[in-house]
Amino acid sequence: MSVEATVALRRGTLDLAVDLQVGDGEVVAVLGPNGAGKSTLLRVLAGLLRPDAGRVTVDGAAWDDGAAHVPAHRRPLGVVFQDALLFPHLTVADNVAFGLRTRGIRRPAARATAGAWLARVGLDGLGGRRPGELSGGQAQRAALARALVGDPAVLLLDEPLTALDARTRLIVRAELRRHLAEFEGSTVLVTHDPVDAMALADRVVVVEHGRVAQAGTPAEVNSRPRTDYVARLAGLSLLSGVGEGRSIRLDAGGVVAVAEEASGPVFAAVRPESVALYLSRPDGSPRNVWPARLVGATPHGATVRCELAGAVPLVADVTATAFAELGLAPGSDVWATVKASEVAVYAR
Protein backbone atom coordinates (compact mmCIF):
# COMPACT_ATOMS: atom_id res chain seq x y z
CA MET A 1 0.00 0.00 0.00
CA SER A 2 1.45 3.31 -0.99
CA VAL A 3 -0.99 5.89 0.38
CA GLU A 4 -2.84 5.22 3.61
CA ALA A 5 -5.01 8.00 4.93
CA THR A 6 -7.43 8.31 7.82
CA VAL A 7 -8.71 11.84 7.81
CA ALA A 8 -11.08 13.58 10.23
CA LEU A 9 -11.89 17.25 9.83
CA ARG A 10 -14.74 19.60 10.71
CA ARG A 11 -15.14 22.82 8.81
CA GLY A 12 -18.40 24.76 8.82
CA THR A 13 -21.19 22.33 7.98
CA LEU A 14 -18.75 19.73 6.67
CA ASP A 15 -17.94 16.80 8.94
CA LEU A 16 -15.37 14.69 7.13
CA ALA A 17 -14.24 11.25 8.36
CA VAL A 18 -12.80 9.13 5.58
CA ASP A 19 -10.37 6.22 5.20
CA LEU A 20 -8.53 5.91 1.91
CA GLN A 21 -5.91 3.46 0.64
CA VAL A 22 -4.22 3.73 -2.73
CA GLY A 23 -1.67 1.21 -3.95
CA ASP A 24 1.35 1.83 -6.18
CA GLY A 25 0.24 2.46 -9.73
CA GLU A 26 -3.39 2.39 -8.65
CA VAL A 27 -5.95 5.04 -9.59
CA VAL A 28 -8.66 5.63 -6.99
CA ALA A 29 -11.58 7.88 -7.86
CA VAL A 30 -13.27 9.76 -5.03
CA LEU A 31 -16.76 10.24 -6.39
CA GLY A 32 -19.45 12.28 -4.72
CA PRO A 33 -21.90 15.15 -5.00
CA ASN A 34 -20.83 18.77 -4.50
CA GLY A 35 -20.14 19.59 -0.87
CA ALA A 36 -19.48 15.97 0.10
CA GLY A 37 -15.95 16.83 1.20
CA LYS A 38 -14.04 15.40 -1.77
CA SER A 39 -11.97 18.49 -2.46
CA THR A 40 -11.31 19.00 1.25
CA LEU A 41 -9.93 15.46 1.39
CA LEU A 42 -7.70 16.26 -1.57
CA ARG A 43 -6.43 19.44 0.10
CA VAL A 44 -5.56 17.41 3.19
CA LEU A 45 -3.63 14.87 1.09
CA ALA A 46 -1.84 17.75 -0.64
CA GLY A 47 -0.84 19.26 2.69
CA LEU A 48 -2.71 22.50 2.02
CA LEU A 49 -5.04 21.78 4.94
CA ARG A 50 -4.25 20.16 8.27
CA PRO A 51 -6.73 17.51 9.41
CA ASP A 52 -8.16 17.79 12.94
CA ALA A 53 -7.21 14.18 13.53
CA GLY A 54 -5.99 11.17 11.60
CA ARG A 55 -2.94 9.96 9.77
CA VAL A 56 -1.62 10.26 6.26
CA THR A 57 1.31 8.02 5.40
CA VAL A 58 2.93 7.55 2.02
CA ASP A 59 5.33 4.65 1.46
CA GLY A 60 5.66 4.39 5.24
CA ALA A 61 6.56 8.05 5.81
CA ALA A 62 4.09 10.04 7.93
CA TRP A 63 2.87 13.16 6.12
CA ASP A 64 0.27 13.92 8.76
CA ASP A 65 0.29 12.29 12.15
CA GLY A 66 -1.07 14.27 15.08
CA ALA A 67 1.55 16.94 15.77
CA ALA A 68 3.70 16.01 12.78
CA HIS A 69 2.76 17.80 9.56
CA VAL A 70 4.80 17.84 6.37
CA PRO A 71 3.90 21.10 4.59
CA ALA A 72 2.71 20.94 0.98
CA HIS A 73 5.99 22.12 -0.53
CA ARG A 74 7.96 19.24 1.04
CA ARG A 75 5.58 16.51 -0.20
CA PRO A 76 6.63 14.74 -3.39
CA LEU A 77 3.32 15.14 -5.16
CA GLY A 78 1.71 16.66 -8.20
CA VAL A 79 -1.71 18.29 -8.29
CA VAL A 80 -3.91 19.13 -11.27
CA PHE A 81 -6.70 21.54 -10.43
CA GLN A 82 -10.00 22.02 -12.22
CA ASP A 83 -9.05 25.27 -13.99
CA ALA A 84 -5.47 24.23 -14.92
CA LEU A 85 -4.24 27.33 -13.01
CA LEU A 86 -1.13 27.84 -15.10
CA PHE A 87 0.83 30.84 -13.80
CA PRO A 88 -0.20 33.64 -16.18
CA HIS A 89 3.11 35.51 -15.90
CA LEU A 90 5.24 32.55 -17.02
CA THR A 91 5.50 30.82 -20.38
CA VAL A 92 4.05 27.34 -20.69
CA ALA A 93 7.56 25.82 -20.57
CA ASP A 94 8.46 27.81 -17.44
CA ASN A 95 5.19 26.66 -15.86
CA VAL A 96 6.15 23.04 -16.45
CA ALA A 97 9.72 23.67 -15.25
CA PHE A 98 8.52 25.46 -12.09
CA GLY A 99 8.48 22.38 -9.88
CA LEU A 100 11.97 21.40 -11.00
CA ARG A 101 13.39 24.88 -10.36
CA THR A 102 11.95 25.04 -6.82
CA ARG A 103 13.57 21.68 -6.14
CA GLY A 104 16.97 23.04 -7.02
CA ILE A 105 17.44 21.81 -10.58
CA ARG A 106 19.41 24.22 -12.78
CA ARG A 107 17.61 26.14 -15.48
CA PRO A 108 19.01 24.38 -18.59
CA ALA A 109 18.29 20.91 -17.20
CA ALA A 110 14.82 21.99 -16.02
CA ARG A 111 14.07 23.48 -19.45
CA ALA A 112 15.12 20.29 -21.20
CA THR A 113 12.99 18.06 -18.96
CA ALA A 114 10.01 20.42 -19.30
CA GLY A 115 10.38 20.35 -23.07
CA ALA A 116 10.39 16.55 -23.10
CA TRP A 117 7.22 16.49 -20.98
CA LEU A 118 5.49 19.00 -23.21
CA ALA A 119 6.21 16.72 -26.15
CA ARG A 120 4.84 13.79 -24.17
CA VAL A 121 1.49 15.50 -23.58
CA GLY A 122 1.30 16.62 -27.20
CA LEU A 123 2.26 20.28 -26.74
CA ASP A 124 5.53 20.14 -28.68
CA GLY A 125 6.50 23.63 -29.82
CA LEU A 126 4.00 25.47 -27.62
CA GLY A 127 6.43 25.95 -24.71
CA GLY A 128 7.10 29.58 -25.58
CA ARG A 129 3.44 30.58 -25.41
CA ARG A 130 1.66 32.31 -22.56
CA PRO A 131 -1.03 30.25 -20.82
CA GLY A 132 -3.66 32.70 -22.10
CA GLU A 133 -2.85 31.62 -25.66
CA LEU A 134 -3.71 27.97 -25.00
CA SER A 135 -7.10 26.31 -25.43
CA GLY A 136 -8.76 24.74 -22.41
CA GLY A 137 -7.64 21.25 -23.39
CA GLN A 138 -4.06 22.39 -24.05
CA ALA A 139 -3.93 24.21 -20.71
CA GLN A 140 -5.09 21.09 -18.88
CA ARG A 141 -2.45 19.01 -20.69
CA ALA A 142 0.22 21.52 -19.66
CA ALA A 143 -1.07 21.37 -16.08
CA LEU A 144 -0.73 17.57 -16.17
CA ALA A 145 2.83 17.86 -17.46
CA ARG A 146 3.60 20.38 -14.71
CA ALA A 147 2.25 17.99 -12.06
CA LEU A 148 4.10 14.93 -13.39
CA VAL A 149 7.43 16.52 -14.30
CA GLY A 150 8.96 16.07 -10.84
CA ASP A 151 8.20 12.32 -10.84
CA PRO A 152 5.94 12.55 -7.76
CA ALA A 153 4.98 9.66 -5.50
CA VAL A 154 1.37 10.80 -5.49
CA LEU A 155 -0.72 12.45 -8.20
CA LEU A 156 -3.86 14.31 -7.12
CA LEU A 157 -6.44 15.27 -9.73
CA ASP A 158 -9.20 17.67 -8.67
CA GLU A 159 -12.03 17.59 -11.24
CA PRO A 160 -9.44 17.71 -14.03
CA LEU A 161 -11.95 17.46 -16.88
CA THR A 162 -14.89 19.43 -15.51
CA ALA A 163 -13.92 22.78 -17.03
CA LEU A 164 -13.59 21.33 -20.56
CA ASP A 165 -16.27 21.27 -23.23
CA ALA A 166 -17.82 17.90 -24.05
CA ARG A 167 -15.73 17.10 -27.14
CA THR A 168 -12.40 18.15 -25.63
CA ARG A 169 -13.25 16.26 -22.46
CA LEU A 170 -13.56 13.04 -24.43
CA ILE A 171 -10.12 13.49 -26.00
CA VAL A 172 -8.33 14.64 -22.85
CA ARG A 173 -9.94 11.82 -20.85
CA ALA A 174 -8.50 9.24 -23.23
CA GLU A 175 -5.04 10.86 -23.02
CA LEU A 176 -5.27 11.09 -19.25
CA ARG A 177 -6.07 7.38 -19.14
CA ARG A 178 -2.91 6.64 -21.08
CA HIS A 179 -0.73 8.82 -18.82
CA LEU A 180 -2.24 7.31 -15.68
CA ALA A 181 -1.44 3.82 -16.97
CA GLU A 182 2.22 4.85 -17.38
CA PHE A 183 2.38 6.59 -13.98
CA GLU A 184 3.98 4.39 -11.33
CA GLY A 185 2.88 6.34 -8.26
CA SER A 186 -0.54 6.46 -6.62
CA THR A 187 -3.30 8.57 -8.12
CA VAL A 188 -6.33 10.06 -6.39
CA LEU A 189 -8.95 11.46 -8.75
CA VAL A 190 -11.67 13.64 -7.26
CA THR A 191 -14.74 13.98 -9.45
CA HIS A 192 -18.51 14.30 -9.44
CA ASP A 193 -18.75 12.79 -12.93
CA PRO A 194 -19.37 9.02 -12.84
CA VAL A 195 -18.07 8.68 -16.40
CA ASP A 196 -14.65 10.06 -15.36
CA ALA A 197 -14.58 7.71 -12.39
CA MET A 198 -15.60 4.65 -14.41
CA ALA A 199 -13.25 5.42 -17.30
CA LEU A 200 -10.13 6.30 -15.33
CA ALA A 201 -10.19 4.53 -11.98
CA ASP A 202 -9.23 1.05 -10.83
CA ARG A 203 -11.31 1.58 -7.72
CA VAL A 204 -14.12 3.99 -6.83
CA VAL A 205 -14.74 5.42 -3.37
CA VAL A 206 -18.10 7.15 -3.11
CA VAL A 207 -18.15 9.94 -0.51
CA GLU A 208 -21.43 11.42 0.67
CA HIS A 209 -21.85 13.86 3.56
CA GLY A 210 -18.22 13.43 4.56
CA ARG A 211 -18.41 9.62 4.85
CA VAL A 212 -17.49 6.74 2.55
CA ALA A 213 -20.85 5.50 1.30
CA GLN A 214 -19.52 2.75 -0.92
CA ALA A 215 -16.23 1.48 -2.31
CA GLY A 216 -15.34 -1.06 -4.96
CA THR A 217 -14.34 -1.54 -8.56
CA PRO A 218 -16.23 0.60 -11.07
CA ALA A 219 -18.18 -2.48 -12.22
CA GLU A 220 -19.22 -3.35 -8.66
CA VAL A 221 -20.29 0.17 -7.83
CA ASN A 222 -22.12 0.47 -11.11
CA SER A 223 -24.11 -2.76 -10.84
CA ARG A 224 -24.66 -2.92 -7.09
CA PRO A 225 -25.30 0.60 -5.82
CA ARG A 226 -25.78 0.97 -2.08
CA THR A 227 -27.10 4.52 -1.89
CA ASP A 228 -29.69 6.45 -3.87
CA TYR A 229 -26.97 8.81 -5.09
CA VAL A 230 -24.92 5.95 -6.58
CA ALA A 231 -28.06 4.31 -7.97
CA ARG A 232 -28.97 7.55 -9.74
CA LEU A 233 -25.47 7.84 -11.20
CA ALA A 234 -25.65 4.24 -12.41
CA GLY A 235 -29.17 4.82 -13.73
CA LEU A 236 -30.75 2.13 -11.59
CA SER A 237 -33.81 1.99 -9.35
CA LEU A 238 -32.65 1.02 -5.88
CA LEU A 239 -35.13 -0.75 -3.58
CA SER A 240 -34.37 -1.89 -0.04
CA GLY A 241 -36.23 -4.59 1.82
CA VAL A 242 -36.05 -7.94 3.59
CA GLY A 243 -35.65 -11.21 1.70
CA GLU A 244 -38.32 -13.86 2.31
CA GLY A 245 -37.41 -16.78 0.06
CA ARG A 246 -38.27 -15.97 -3.57
CA SER A 247 -39.69 -12.57 -2.70
CA ILE A 248 -38.54 -9.35 -1.05
CA ARG A 249 -40.79 -7.34 1.23
CA LEU A 250 -39.81 -3.70 0.67
CA ASP A 251 -39.33 -1.31 3.59
CA ALA A 252 -41.74 1.07 1.86
CA GLY A 253 -44.44 -1.64 1.47
CA GLY A 254 -44.78 -3.62 -1.77
CA VAL A 255 -43.39 -7.03 -2.65
CA VAL A 256 -40.85 -7.90 -5.36
CA ALA A 257 -40.58 -11.42 -6.78
CA VAL A 258 -36.98 -12.51 -7.39
CA ALA A 259 -35.38 -15.48 -9.18
CA GLU A 260 -33.13 -16.71 -6.38
CA GLU A 261 -33.64 -17.32 -2.66
CA ALA A 262 -32.91 -14.26 -0.54
CA SER A 263 -32.98 -13.67 3.20
CA GLY A 264 -32.26 -10.86 5.62
CA PRO A 265 -31.88 -7.20 4.69
CA VAL A 266 -31.15 -6.85 0.97
CA PHE A 267 -31.01 -4.34 -1.85
CA ALA A 268 -32.84 -4.96 -5.11
CA ALA A 269 -31.71 -3.05 -8.19
CA VAL A 270 -33.78 -2.76 -11.37
CA ARG A 271 -32.49 -1.42 -14.69
CA PRO A 272 -34.90 1.04 -16.36
CA GLU A 273 -34.83 -0.84 -19.67
CA SER A 274 -36.13 -4.01 -18.01
CA VAL A 275 -39.35 -2.30 -16.91
CA ALA A 276 -42.32 -2.52 -19.32
CA LEU A 277 -45.43 -0.32 -19.09
CA TYR A 278 -49.09 -1.22 -19.89
CA LEU A 279 -52.32 0.77 -19.77
CA SER A 280 -54.31 -2.18 -18.36
CA ARG A 281 -53.22 -5.06 -16.19
CA PRO A 282 -51.32 -7.51 -18.43
CA ASP A 283 -51.60 -11.29 -18.18
CA GLY A 284 -48.21 -12.78 -18.90
CA SER A 285 -45.06 -14.41 -17.68
CA PRO A 286 -43.47 -11.56 -15.71
CA ARG A 287 -43.97 -12.34 -12.02
CA ASN A 288 -43.84 -8.69 -11.01
CA VAL A 289 -46.89 -6.64 -12.00
CA TRP A 290 -47.53 -3.44 -10.09
CA PRO A 291 -49.92 -0.53 -10.48
CA ALA A 292 -48.11 2.80 -10.64
CA ARG A 293 -48.59 6.43 -11.50
CA LEU A 294 -46.37 8.28 -13.95
CA VAL A 295 -44.98 11.30 -12.10
CA GLY A 296 -42.27 12.47 -14.46
CA ALA A 297 -41.00 11.94 -18.01
CA THR A 298 -37.75 13.17 -19.55
CA PRO A 299 -36.54 12.47 -23.09
CA HIS A 300 -33.33 10.45 -22.96
CA GLY A 301 -32.00 9.84 -26.45
CA ALA A 302 -34.48 7.75 -28.42
CA THR A 303 -36.26 6.74 -25.22
CA VAL A 304 -38.28 8.52 -22.58
CA ARG A 305 -37.23 8.02 -18.97
CA CYS A 306 -40.42 7.63 -16.91
CA GLU A 307 -40.50 8.08 -13.17
CA LEU A 308 -43.11 5.90 -11.49
CA ALA A 309 -44.64 6.35 -8.03
CA GLY A 310 -46.43 3.59 -6.14
CA ALA A 311 -45.74 0.79 -3.70
CA VAL A 312 -42.64 -0.02 -5.80
CA PRO A 313 -41.08 3.23 -7.03
CA LEU A 314 -39.28 2.61 -10.33
CA VAL A 315 -37.72 4.26 -13.33
CA ALA A 316 -38.72 2.89 -16.73
CA ASP A 317 -37.22 3.55 -20.17
CA VAL A 318 -39.74 3.28 -23.01
CA THR A 319 -39.22 4.27 -26.63
CA ALA A 320 -40.52 7.66 -27.64
CA THR A 321 -42.89 5.95 -30.12
CA ALA A 322 -44.38 3.70 -27.46
CA PHE A 323 -44.66 6.65 -25.10
CA ALA A 324 -46.69 8.54 -27.73
CA GLU A 325 -48.83 5.56 -28.80
CA LEU A 326 -49.79 4.78 -25.21
CA GLY A 327 -50.77 8.45 -24.79
CA LEU A 328 -48.73 8.71 -21.61
CA ALA A 329 -48.48 11.94 -19.66
CA PRO A 330 -47.57 12.79 -16.09
CA GLY A 331 -50.47 11.69 -13.91
CA SER A 332 -51.31 8.64 -16.08
CA ASP A 333 -52.10 5.41 -14.24
CA VAL A 334 -50.12 2.49 -15.66
CA TRP A 335 -49.11 -1.08 -14.92
CA ALA A 336 -45.42 -1.87 -14.67
CA THR A 337 -43.92 -5.33 -15.16
CA VAL A 338 -40.44 -6.69 -14.45
CA LYS A 339 -39.24 -10.26 -14.88
CA ALA A 340 -38.09 -11.76 -11.59
CA SER A 341 -34.78 -12.68 -13.23
CA GLU A 342 -34.16 -9.02 -14.11
CA VAL A 343 -33.99 -7.97 -10.45
CA ALA A 344 -30.46 -7.92 -9.02
CA VAL A 345 -30.43 -8.83 -5.33
CA TYR A 346 -27.48 -8.33 -2.94
CA ALA A 347 -27.02 -8.11 0.81
CA ARG A 348 -27.39 -4.75 2.52
Binding site: A46, G47, L48, P71, A72, H73, R74, R75, L77, G78, V79, F81, D83, L85, F87, P88, H89, F98, G99, T102, R103, R146, A147, G150, L156
Partner: protein
Amino acid sequence: MGRDLLIRVTPPAVERSAARSRGRPRSEPGIPAPLLFPAVLGVLFLVLPLIGLVIRAPWSAIGPALAEPQVGQALRLSLVSATLATLVSVVLGVPIAWVLARSTARGRTLLRALVTVPLVLPPVVGGVALFLVLGRQGIVGRWLNESFGVTIPFTTAAVVIAETFVAMPFLVISVEGALRAADARFEDVAATLGADRWTTFRRVTLPLVGATITFAGNFPGTTQTMPLAVYLALQRDPEAAIVLSLVLLAVSLATLLLLRGRWLGRTAP
Protein backbone atom coordinates in the same frame (compact mmCIF):
# COMPACT_ATOMS: atom_id res chain seq x y z
CA MET B 1 -8.19 40.61 -16.98
CA GLY B 2 -10.72 43.38 -16.56
CA ARG B 3 -9.93 44.71 -19.97
CA ASP B 4 -10.56 41.32 -21.54
CA LEU B 5 -13.88 41.20 -19.78
CA LEU B 6 -14.81 44.60 -21.12
CA ILE B 7 -13.90 43.61 -24.64
CA ARG B 8 -15.83 40.39 -24.41
CA VAL B 9 -18.87 42.01 -22.87
CA THR B 10 -19.07 45.02 -25.13
CA PRO B 11 -19.96 43.61 -28.57
CA PRO B 12 -23.24 41.87 -27.60
CA ALA B 13 -24.29 44.92 -25.57
CA VAL B 14 -23.57 47.18 -28.51
CA GLU B 15 -25.50 44.92 -30.86
CA ARG B 16 -28.44 44.82 -28.51
CA SER B 17 -28.64 48.57 -28.08
CA ALA B 18 -28.17 49.02 -31.83
CA ALA B 19 -31.02 46.62 -32.49
CA ARG B 20 -33.19 48.39 -29.98
CA SER B 21 -32.51 51.86 -31.36
CA ARG B 22 -33.13 50.88 -34.96
CA GLY B 23 -36.76 51.92 -34.68
CA ARG B 24 -36.31 55.16 -32.75
CA PRO B 25 -32.76 56.49 -32.68
CA ARG B 26 -31.48 57.61 -29.29
CA SER B 27 -29.17 60.60 -29.26
CA GLU B 28 -28.16 60.46 -25.56
CA PRO B 29 -26.64 57.62 -23.53
CA GLY B 30 -29.25 58.73 -21.00
CA ILE B 31 -27.95 59.94 -17.65
CA PRO B 32 -30.88 60.77 -15.33
CA ALA B 33 -31.08 64.51 -14.55
CA PRO B 34 -30.85 64.04 -10.75
CA LEU B 35 -27.49 62.34 -11.31
CA LEU B 36 -26.25 64.50 -14.18
CA PHE B 37 -26.64 67.88 -12.44
CA PRO B 38 -24.68 67.10 -9.26
CA ALA B 39 -22.09 65.24 -11.33
CA VAL B 40 -21.44 68.28 -13.55
CA LEU B 41 -21.36 70.56 -10.49
CA GLY B 42 -18.88 68.23 -8.80
CA VAL B 43 -16.60 68.11 -11.83
CA LEU B 44 -16.63 71.93 -12.06
CA PHE B 45 -15.77 72.17 -8.38
CA LEU B 46 -12.79 69.86 -8.83
CA VAL B 47 -11.55 71.25 -12.13
CA LEU B 48 -12.09 75.04 -11.77
CA PRO B 49 -9.17 75.55 -9.38
CA LEU B 50 -6.90 73.78 -11.83
CA ILE B 51 -8.18 75.97 -14.67
CA GLY B 52 -7.53 79.02 -12.48
CA LEU B 53 -3.97 77.86 -12.10
CA VAL B 54 -3.55 77.57 -15.83
CA ILE B 55 -5.11 81.03 -16.47
CA ARG B 56 -3.03 82.84 -13.85
CA ALA B 57 0.23 81.22 -14.86
CA PRO B 58 2.87 83.71 -16.03
CA TRP B 59 3.39 81.86 -19.28
CA SER B 60 6.04 84.25 -20.58
CA ALA B 61 8.13 83.91 -17.43
CA ILE B 62 8.01 80.14 -17.16
CA GLY B 63 11.40 79.54 -18.67
CA PRO B 64 13.36 81.92 -16.46
CA ALA B 65 11.35 80.86 -13.36
CA LEU B 66 12.24 77.22 -13.87
CA ALA B 67 15.85 78.10 -14.61
CA GLU B 68 16.34 79.86 -11.28
CA PRO B 69 19.02 77.95 -9.34
CA GLN B 70 17.02 77.82 -6.09
CA VAL B 71 14.02 76.32 -7.89
CA GLY B 72 16.23 73.73 -9.52
CA GLN B 73 17.79 72.91 -6.20
CA ALA B 74 14.39 72.49 -4.58
CA LEU B 75 13.25 70.28 -7.46
CA ARG B 76 16.32 68.11 -7.14
CA LEU B 77 15.88 67.73 -3.39
CA SER B 78 12.24 66.82 -3.90
CA LEU B 79 13.06 64.29 -6.57
CA VAL B 80 15.68 62.58 -4.42
CA SER B 81 13.51 62.54 -1.30
CA ALA B 82 10.44 61.27 -3.15
CA THR B 83 12.44 58.46 -4.74
CA LEU B 84 13.84 57.43 -1.39
CA ALA B 85 10.39 57.63 0.21
CA THR B 86 9.00 55.41 -2.54
CA LEU B 87 11.73 52.85 -2.01
CA VAL B 88 11.18 52.80 1.75
CA SER B 89 7.40 52.56 1.26
CA VAL B 90 7.72 49.57 -1.05
CA VAL B 91 10.28 47.75 1.06
CA LEU B 92 8.30 48.18 4.29
CA GLY B 93 4.76 48.49 2.91
CA VAL B 94 4.54 45.39 0.70
CA PRO B 95 5.32 43.04 3.61
CA ILE B 96 2.67 44.82 5.73
CA ALA B 97 0.18 44.36 2.90
CA TRP B 98 1.06 40.65 2.66
CA VAL B 99 0.55 40.18 6.41
CA LEU B 100 -2.82 41.95 6.23
CA ALA B 101 -3.97 39.97 3.20
CA ARG B 102 -2.57 36.50 3.82
CA SER B 103 -1.69 35.83 7.44
CA THR B 104 -4.31 34.59 9.87
CA ALA B 105 -2.69 36.26 12.88
CA ARG B 106 -5.07 37.88 15.34
CA GLY B 107 -5.31 41.66 15.51
CA ARG B 108 -5.11 42.23 11.76
CA THR B 109 -8.13 44.54 11.84
CA LEU B 110 -6.48 46.70 14.46
CA LEU B 111 -3.20 46.62 12.54
CA ARG B 112 -4.95 47.72 9.35
CA ALA B 113 -6.63 50.61 11.16
CA LEU B 114 -3.36 51.75 12.73
CA VAL B 115 -1.39 51.51 9.51
CA THR B 116 -3.90 53.49 7.49
CA VAL B 117 -4.48 56.27 10.04
CA PRO B 118 -2.03 58.65 8.29
CA LEU B 119 -4.36 58.61 5.26
CA VAL B 120 -7.10 60.37 7.18
CA LEU B 121 -4.91 62.33 9.58
CA PRO B 122 -4.66 66.08 8.87
CA PRO B 123 -1.09 66.70 7.62
CA VAL B 124 -0.38 69.10 10.49
CA VAL B 125 -1.26 66.49 13.09
CA GLY B 126 0.99 64.01 11.33
CA GLY B 127 3.79 66.56 11.30
CA VAL B 128 3.41 67.29 15.00
CA ALA B 129 3.36 63.59 15.80
CA LEU B 130 6.51 62.96 13.78
CA PHE B 131 8.21 65.93 15.42
CA LEU B 132 7.34 64.61 18.89
CA VAL B 133 9.04 61.32 18.08
CA LEU B 134 11.98 62.40 15.96
CA GLY B 135 12.57 65.99 17.13
CA ARG B 136 15.64 66.84 19.18
CA GLN B 137 13.60 66.32 22.34
CA GLY B 138 11.49 63.49 20.91
CA ILE B 139 11.36 59.90 22.18
CA VAL B 140 13.56 58.51 19.44
CA GLY B 141 15.14 61.80 18.37
CA ARG B 142 16.80 62.48 21.74
CA TRP B 143 18.26 58.98 21.84
CA LEU B 144 19.58 59.36 18.30
CA ASN B 145 21.08 62.73 19.19
CA GLU B 146 22.71 61.58 22.41
CA SER B 147 23.97 58.22 21.15
CA PHE B 148 25.04 59.04 17.63
CA GLY B 149 24.93 62.82 17.42
CA VAL B 150 22.30 62.51 14.68
CA THR B 151 19.56 65.08 14.41
CA ILE B 152 16.64 64.54 12.10
CA PRO B 153 14.58 67.74 11.79
CA PHE B 154 15.22 70.04 8.84
CA THR B 155 17.29 67.47 6.95
CA THR B 156 16.66 65.47 3.79
CA ALA B 157 16.07 62.47 6.05
CA ALA B 158 13.22 64.35 7.72
CA VAL B 159 11.62 65.00 4.32
CA VAL B 160 11.95 61.34 3.36
CA ILE B 161 10.42 60.22 6.65
CA ALA B 162 7.49 62.63 6.32
CA GLU B 163 6.80 61.58 2.75
CA THR B 164 7.03 57.89 3.64
CA PHE B 165 4.62 58.50 6.51
CA VAL B 166 2.02 59.80 4.05
CA ALA B 167 2.77 57.56 1.07
CA MET B 168 3.10 54.15 2.71
CA PRO B 169 -0.53 53.76 3.89
CA PHE B 170 -1.69 54.40 0.33
CA LEU B 171 0.66 51.70 -0.91
CA VAL B 172 -0.34 49.24 1.82
CA ILE B 173 -4.04 49.62 1.04
CA SER B 174 -3.56 49.31 -2.72
CA VAL B 175 -1.29 46.30 -2.50
CA GLU B 176 -3.44 44.56 0.10
CA GLY B 177 -6.42 45.01 -2.21
CA ALA B 178 -4.44 43.59 -5.12
CA LEU B 179 -3.28 40.63 -3.03
CA ARG B 180 -6.84 39.86 -1.99
CA ALA B 181 -8.05 40.14 -5.57
CA ALA B 182 -5.23 37.89 -6.83
CA ASP B 183 -6.25 34.26 -7.07
CA ALA B 184 -4.82 32.59 -3.94
CA ARG B 185 -5.15 29.22 -5.68
CA PHE B 186 -1.99 30.07 -7.65
CA GLU B 187 -0.16 30.09 -4.32
CA ASP B 188 -1.60 26.64 -3.53
CA VAL B 189 -0.34 25.40 -6.88
CA ALA B 190 3.11 26.82 -6.16
CA ALA B 191 3.15 25.03 -2.79
CA THR B 192 2.31 21.70 -4.42
CA LEU B 193 5.19 22.33 -6.82
CA GLY B 194 7.68 22.53 -3.98
CA ALA B 195 7.78 26.29 -3.39
CA ASP B 196 7.93 27.46 0.23
CA ARG B 197 6.05 30.62 1.20
CA TRP B 198 8.96 32.95 0.49
CA THR B 199 9.65 31.40 -2.92
CA THR B 200 5.93 31.52 -3.66
CA PHE B 201 5.86 35.20 -2.73
CA ARG B 202 8.85 35.99 -4.93
CA ARG B 203 8.03 33.87 -7.96
CA VAL B 204 4.22 33.93 -8.02
CA THR B 205 2.55 36.48 -5.74
CA LEU B 206 4.84 39.42 -6.49
CA PRO B 207 4.65 39.04 -10.30
CA LEU B 208 0.87 38.77 -10.09
CA VAL B 209 0.46 42.02 -8.13
CA GLY B 210 3.56 43.71 -9.54
CA ALA B 211 1.56 46.14 -11.68
CA THR B 212 -0.29 47.44 -8.65
CA ILE B 213 2.91 47.87 -6.68
CA THR B 214 4.46 49.79 -9.57
CA PHE B 215 1.50 52.15 -9.64
CA ALA B 216 0.94 52.45 -5.91
CA GLY B 217 4.62 52.96 -5.35
CA ASN B 218 5.15 55.49 -8.10
CA PHE B 219 2.03 57.55 -7.78
CA PRO B 220 2.65 59.09 -4.34
CA GLY B 221 6.32 59.37 -5.18
CA THR B 222 5.65 61.33 -8.33
CA THR B 223 3.00 63.58 -6.90
CA GLN B 224 5.02 64.33 -3.82
CA THR B 225 8.12 65.20 -5.71
CA MET B 226 7.18 68.82 -6.03
CA PRO B 227 4.93 70.03 -3.21
CA LEU B 228 8.03 70.76 -1.19
CA ALA B 229 9.48 72.81 -3.99
CA VAL B 230 6.17 74.62 -4.40
CA TYR B 231 6.11 75.41 -0.71
CA LEU B 232 9.66 76.69 -0.68
CA ALA B 233 9.06 78.78 -3.77
CA LEU B 234 5.83 80.27 -2.46
CA GLN B 235 7.70 81.89 0.39
CA ARG B 236 10.06 83.75 -1.93
CA ASP B 237 8.31 84.08 -5.23
CA PRO B 238 4.57 83.38 -5.69
CA GLU B 239 4.94 83.35 -9.47
CA ALA B 240 7.51 80.58 -9.30
CA ALA B 241 5.09 78.70 -7.05
CA ILE B 242 2.40 78.85 -9.72
CA VAL B 243 4.83 77.61 -12.35
CA LEU B 244 5.88 74.72 -10.18
CA SER B 245 2.26 73.91 -9.41
CA LEU B 246 1.64 73.70 -13.14
CA VAL B 247 4.52 71.27 -13.56
CA LEU B 248 3.14 69.24 -10.68
CA LEU B 249 -0.31 69.25 -12.26
CA ALA B 250 1.07 68.03 -15.56
CA VAL B 251 3.11 65.28 -13.95
CA SER B 252 0.20 64.09 -11.81
CA LEU B 253 -2.18 64.01 -14.73
CA ALA B 254 0.33 62.12 -16.85
CA THR B 255 0.86 59.62 -14.03
CA LEU B 256 -2.86 59.03 -13.61
CA LEU B 257 -3.56 58.67 -17.32
CA LEU B 258 -0.53 56.66 -18.39
CA LEU B 259 0.51 54.55 -15.44
CA ARG B 260 -2.91 53.65 -14.21
CA GLY B 261 -4.24 53.05 -17.70
CA ARG B 262 -1.31 50.92 -18.77
CA TRP B 263 -0.59 48.86 -15.68
CA LEU B 264 -4.00 48.59 -14.08
CA GLY B 265 -5.96 47.58 -17.15
CA ARG B 266 -9.16 47.26 -15.15
CA THR B 267 -9.53 51.02 -14.66
CA ALA B 268 -8.63 52.01 -18.19
CA PRO B 269 -11.43 53.26 -20.41
